[in-house]
């Protein structure tokens, strides 16, 4: 039995180098190498994941996770921000699938409706409006790509080593094992058939105050966005007037 930590460390390093090569650096050189390295790292990492019980679950999870992770990597690696946004949409779809797979139906729908449907589309509009012809220099060069890639991947590595370490560490018999909920318990609570009803009860019962606060928050954001844009417009007008006066 080989030590999973070594593989995880290698994966982290491979992933860091691969992502560095993939990130926009002003040249095309090495991008394909980066893609290969990242893919290898991804595969090596995936090989360390435990088996989920049956092949159907395993394959559905595998596909969803792969879609999510690959599109996430693509989101940060593409140079054209429009593509980035579209790839991020795919990430959102993958996440929504994972939510669904974990039994959080409402969240899956909410993610798609709110994120993909509203937020992302608006951003795409802005991007389309602001997008220069051709790719801007700041999209083609990232800031300290190597440093960021290494730091981010080390973060991932530390976290996944901790996670894997907790769940796979050999245990002595006397210690209390991690007790997963039985399927029956799950079916009575989180995976209850009337999921949305249960969620709503919880949301508007225990978390009513938070809901009210979120309402205030949304109002603030609405007013804020309006004020910011309106003030920006006014200011532009003022500046134009000032310039005309000067002319």
């Amino acid at each position: 039995m080989h030590d999973p930590h070594i593989i995880l460390i290698l994966t982290t390093l491979l992933g860091a180098v691969g992502l560095w090569l993939m990130l926009p650096r002003g040249t095309h050189r090495g991008r394909s190498v980066g893609i290969i390295l990242t893919a290898v790292a991804l595969g090596a990492g995936a090989s360390q994941l435990p088996y989920l019980g049956d092949w159907l679950t395993e394959s559905i999870f595998g596909v969803l996770a792969a879609v999510t992770v690959v599109s996430a990597a693509a989101t940060i690696a593409f140079r054209n921000p429009v593509y980035c946004a579209i790839w991020f949409g795919l990430t959102l779809l993958g996440t929504a699938g994972l939510f669904l797979f974990a039994g959080a139906q409402f969240l899956a729908v909410a993610t798609i409706v709110v994120y993909a449907g509203a937020i992302l589309v608006t951003f795409l509009f802005v991007l389309m409006l602001a997008q220069p012809e051709g790719k801007a220099a700041y999209d083609r060069v990232s800031w300290e790509a190597l440093l960021s890639a290494v730091l981010g991947m080390v973060f991932v590595g530390v976290l996944s080593m901790a996670i894997v370490g907790v769940f796979t560490a050999p245990r002595e018999a006397k210690e209390r094992p991690v007790a997963p909920p039985a399927a029956k318990e799950l079916a009575e609570n989180v995976l209850v058939p009337q999921h949305v009803a249960a969620l709503g009860t919880e949301l508007f019962g225990k978390h009513l105050i938070a809901v009210e606060v979120a309402g205030a928050l949304l109002l603030a954001a609405l007013v804020g966005a309006a004020v910011i844009v309106a003030q920006g417009k006014m200011e532009e007008k003022n500046e134009r007037n000032a310039q005309q006066k000067r002319d």
Binding site: K206, H207, A216, L217, V223, G232
Partner: protein, 508 residues
């Protein structure tokens, strides 16, 4: 959610109602005046409501009703009143109602965050502070620098929220509940944590404290502060240097002191390291500053370090007897006197500014002592209070903080804590000595230099009034600190769970 919960939350509800009314009203009115009075009325009403809450014994599930919550809520209201006075003049370019509405929402957020007993509510109330803050940062003066500072704060704040949430996710995973009472119970019962999960506890501690440290401007999460303060208005800088600290500290106490395994010792190391870094870096970098707001930003970083020193003392000495030296009480006392001096300083700066340009550099204060002796004397009092010169309130703050640290040093049950806290106290006192240099620079410029030009002092009487109030506080608390000492002595998280509504989350 019962009738009693509504009563408890009446102050926040009133604040939000006033904020909504001001927001909506602004859509139908072009008036720029009068909003300040409306906001002040909201704060006063909320204070009246809070006065009734004080005597309400019940504390239910989603909210704490302990000394810490009450103290923080009162303090938030007091700060709100000062801040409204400070920015009493309408904004030059419009947006005044939005500013006051956002301010009320921020205060409501702080009050909720201080009382919240649920991770969800904590997160949402922290965001209720952040999002109106983005708006406030954008309002006021709209030049490139201000926009830059708004963008900086926004992006880094989003990042810090993500980090905080990640910490919360591990905290939630450890306990299986978002309710802080349940989390506390799980950690209290040492066997409650599955084997190996201490790793997750560490992750949760680091990430959550890191996320909250952003609000405290603790090093290395402080980077935004100098730039943002420099770019924004005096009023916003005053707000940023106190309000997020209050909310962040209250939540940090809840998380690190109450909802951490291992009796908070896990958080102790992190908090102590943050304290030393913040004190030192804040003070040494402040020595170089010429811009007043930037200098005050570094000063606020340094003071965050002192505050964290108090928290570290509290974490090290959990078995606090009533009446003992208590880090949390010291911290709250310190925060009050720091807030009075800092808001007063910014109020003076605001008052000194002209209608079109504000006071920027230390040089612009030259000769203030001769031109405007009263204002200069107030500013000098604030500076000396921040330095910790006796008979001013700041001295008692430092005394309490270092006293609590040294009482750990003399009383700690664990051997290694003693040298640690002696070292912490020495670093703290040394830093206090260093800080005298840059505060004195301001005093020296005011009294020992010839004026460079006329002082416009068009900042309005509101700012002057705020400064005078703060000056009264600084002097009064220095001469007669007893009331605040008593109040802050009670401002600690409750140790007894009141009410059993929390069982709702486990309908087994």
């Amino acid at each position: 959610m019962t009738y009693q919960t509504v009563l408890q939350l009446l102050p926040e509800i009133l604040l939000v109602a006033f904020a909504v009314a001001i927001y909506v009203g602004s859509a139908f009115s072009d008036a720029q005046r009068g909003w300040n009075r409306a906001a002040l009325a909201g704060v006063v009403l909320a204070a009246c409501a809070l006065a009734t809450v004080h005597y309400h014994p019940a504390g239910g599930y989603p909210l704490f009703q302990d000394g810490l919550a009450l103290f923080a809520r009162w303090m938030a209201l007091a700060l709100a009143a000062l801040y409204i006075l400070l920015s009493f003049k309408p904004l030059p370019g419009g947006g005044t109602p939005e500013m006051f509405g956002s301010l009320l929402l921020i205060v409501a957020g702080v009050m909720l965050a201080a009382a919240a007993a649920d991770l969800v509510l904590i997160f949402v109330s922290l965001e209720l502070i952040s999002i109106p803050t983005y708006i406030l940062l954008y309002l006021g003066r709209r030049d490139a620098l201000q926009q830059e500072s708004a963008a900086k704060y926004f992006y880094l704040s989003v990042l810090s929220s993500a980090i905080l949430l990640y910490g919360f996710s591990f905290l939630y995973g450890l306990a299986g509940s978002t309710d802080l009472h349940n989390i506390h119970d799980v950690f209290l019962d040492a066997g409650g944590l599955p084997q190996g999960f201490e790793l997750f506890a560490k992750l949760a501690a680091v990430l959550a404290i890191a996320g909250l440290s952003f609000r405290l401007t603790a090093v290395p999460f402080h980077f935004y502060a100098p730039d943002v303060y420099q770019g924004t208005t005096h009023a916003n800088a005053a707000l940023l240097s106190v309000i997020p600290k209050l909310a962040g500290l209250a939540v940090l106490v809840r998380i690190a002191w109450w909802a951490m395994p291992d009796g908070g010792h896990l958080a102790l190391g992190i908090v102590a390291a943050l304290a030393v870094l913040s004190m030192t870096l804040g003070n040494v970098l402040a020595l170089w500053q010429d811009n007043l707001r930037r200098l005050m930003a570094y000063s606020s970083i340094a003071h965050a370090g002192y505050l964290l020193l108090g928290l570290a003392a509290a974490l090290a000495m959990r078995n606090i007897q009533p009446g003992a030296w208590d880090g949390i009480g010291a911290m709250m006392f310190y925060l009050c006197v720091y807030a009075a001096a800092t808001i007063g300083t910014f109020a003076v700066f605001e008052h000194l500014g002209g209608s079109t340009r504000r006071v920027e550099g230390i040089d612009e204060l030259a000769g203030l002592g001769r031109e405007k002796p009263t204002v200069a004397a107030m500013l000098a009092a604030f500076m000396f209070s921040l330095t910790g010169i006796p008979i001013l309130a700041g001295f008692w703050g430092k005394f309490q903080i270092f006293g609590s640290a040294l009482s750990v040093a003399s009383d700690a049950e664990t051997a290694f804590l003693r040298p640690l806290f002696i070292a912490l106290a020495v670093v703290g006192v040394l830093n206090a000595a260093v800080s005298a240099a840059y505060y004195l620079r301001i005093v020296g410029a005011m009294y020992f230099r010839a004026p460079l030009g006329k002082f416009r002092a068009e900042g309005g009487t509101g700012a002057l009034l705020a400064a005078a109030l703060c000056c009264l506080l600084v002097l009064g608390l220095g001469l007669y600190p007893r009331p605040l000492l008593r109040a802050s002595d009670r401002a600690r998280p409750q140790l007894e769970i009141v009410g059993q509504v929390s069982n709702l989350s486990h309908p087994k």
